[in-house]
Amino acid sequence: MRSWIRACERGDVMLFGWFVCLAAGALAVWAVHRGARGGSAGPWRRGLAHLASDRPAMAALFILAMLAALAILAPVVAPYLPNAQPDVVSGNNQPPSLDHLFGTDFASRDVFSRVLFGGRISLAVAALAVLLSTCLGTAYGAVAGFHGGRLDGVMMRVLDAALSIPRILLVMAVVAVARSITVPTLVLLLGVTGWFGTSRMVRAQVLSLREQDLTTAARALGARDREILWRHLLPNVASTVIVAATLSLGNVIILEAALSYLGIGIRPPTPSWGNIIQDGSSQLASAWWMALFPGLAIVITVLAINTLGDALRDALDPRTVDGT
């Protein structure tokens, strides 16, 4: 056991790190149950209760929370440094073993550690990009939906134009022009190309909310536009936005992986699930472990995200929330 401790000076710290990650998963699930048990009958609490009763969703949440913790604690929990090449001559292309859980690649780097560090990059890029695109999309859609009329018309035409360009081509075009792609640039790029769908959805919902009595009531009380937007419209739009954001997280992970695979996303030697697959793709038949494990990582992550997202949609569905 001691023999595979390399990255971390102390094996017990690494084990402790793993324990913390498992605990993070458990903590997330516990938090949902705790939130669901509160006394009030508010719509959020009932949504949590619904979520808590959905077993697959709770399993997905456990996995995702653990993955997030692994991503954060990668330097502590990874057995090797991701770019360490201890023995290029005889240590490369080793199949999975106790020393190297996922085997080694052509440069004798430990695939398991690379996958862990790659996850760090992939998850961080996806989370930040989705955060950016959600904020942009919500703001744009809310403004368009709330004001309606000509402003809405103009804003939507701009949106239609933007939507007509396939996202991946847009990203590739920008990358081709730019000299290098740093992680922040990639986040910005993915975020800025991803808000269109959200804004359409938010606009539609804001438009319909605007016609409802609850908005008329607020206006009759003398509420200003921004008060109505902030106090009534946004909270009611929030649940749709959360679901959409969760589901788009999966899409962005796949998109980033695709870009990195093509060589125009994260460039080696920085590991990202996509470029690890690229490295292993030429030796698929002989050294299958190099491409399989990062691929599995993507599949499990996206599956968990989609499961959780679907469950969130059911839990936050206005119909279950309103108790009707």
Binding site: G42, L214, A217, A220, L221, G222, E227, N236, P318
Partner: protein, 270 residues
């Protein structure tokens, strides 16, 4: 702020109000012509008085109510509240005037934000107009809930936990929070059960007596209107076809449409 009301003059005066809905711009020819929802309507309501407005769906009653409160912009005419011309006000003075005129909705569920607690809903008007803050605001909310017959514990609960009649009371409490002098009740009991209707109608009458409120009571149920209104106006296709005191109008209707409405109303056997 407002011109002094001529003593003895009405609290609310509507003159020649007209609202036309723009024709739908149809893509393949034949778009409908604009609908004249409110056609040259004039009426008056004195302080502390209830004017009933009856008519069928599509007659323009709701549109008239919204135009009076300027939640919709009428095309022409005037609305004078306590001497002030409502349609000529700028945004800020209009907002201040909104305190005086409030609205109670037909569907108590649709008009209450399901994500806010009852306390927050009732407090909204107080917050908007800065009438009170913090504990003083909470105290006001508690008093209002009590006044409409709800317990003060209701403030921490959510609208869906209440029955239709109770939600309607919440709506009334919200309207009263800003201390209006005039309330437009737009079919406030139509979606409620019979015994609950009676509770809400009694409540509205009690509140009128206690606070000296004037009501424009819009309904399609003639017996309810006869019970609560001092005077009644009958609306048909955007026009007022008859106005009169409640007892006279129902006992001896003059307009043909009024007679038709009365004839169609189902009556329990005495």
């Amino acid at each position: 702020m407002s011109a002094a009301r001529p003593p003895g003059g009405p609290l609310l005066s509507v003159r020649a109000l007209t609202k036309r809905f723009a024709p739908r711009r149809a893509l393949f020819g034949a778009g409908g012509g604009g609908v004249l929802a409110v056609d040259d309507v004039s009426l008056e309501i004195a302080a502390g008085e209830t004017l009933g407005l009856v008519g069928e769906s599509g007659s323009g009653k709701t549109t008239l109510g919204r135009c009076i409160l300027r939640l919709m912009e009428p095309d022409s005419g005037s609305v004078t509240f306590d001497g002030t011309e409502v349609l000529a006000l700028a945004a800020e003075p209009l907002r201040a005037l909104r305190r005086e005129m409030q609205l109670v909705f037909q569907d108590p569920f649709a008009s209450l934000d399901p994500r806010m607690t009852v306390g927050a809903i009732v407090r909204e008007g107080i917050t908007i107009h800065r009438l009170a803050e913090g504990a003083a605001a909470e105290a006001r909310v508690a008093r209002l809930l009590d006044e409409v017959g709800l317990s003060k514990e209701a403030a921490t609960r959510y609208p869906h936990e209440f029955s239709g009649g109770q939600r309607q009371r919440i709506g009334i409490a919200r309207a009263l929070a800003v201390e209006p002098r005039f309330l437009i009740c737009d079919e406030p009991v139509s979606s409620l059960d019979v015994s609950v209707q009676a509770q809400v109608i009694n409540l509205l009458r009690d509140l009128q007596r206690a606070r000296g409120l004037a009501y424009l009571f819009i309904a399609h149920d003639l017996s309810v209107v006869e019970h609560i209104a001092h005077r009644v106006a009958v609306m048909h296709r955007g026009r007022i076809v008859e106005t009169g005191s409640s007892t006279e109008l129902f006992a001896a209707p003059k307009a043909a449409y009024t007679k038709e409405l009365l004839a169609a109303a189902p009556r329990p056997i005495a």
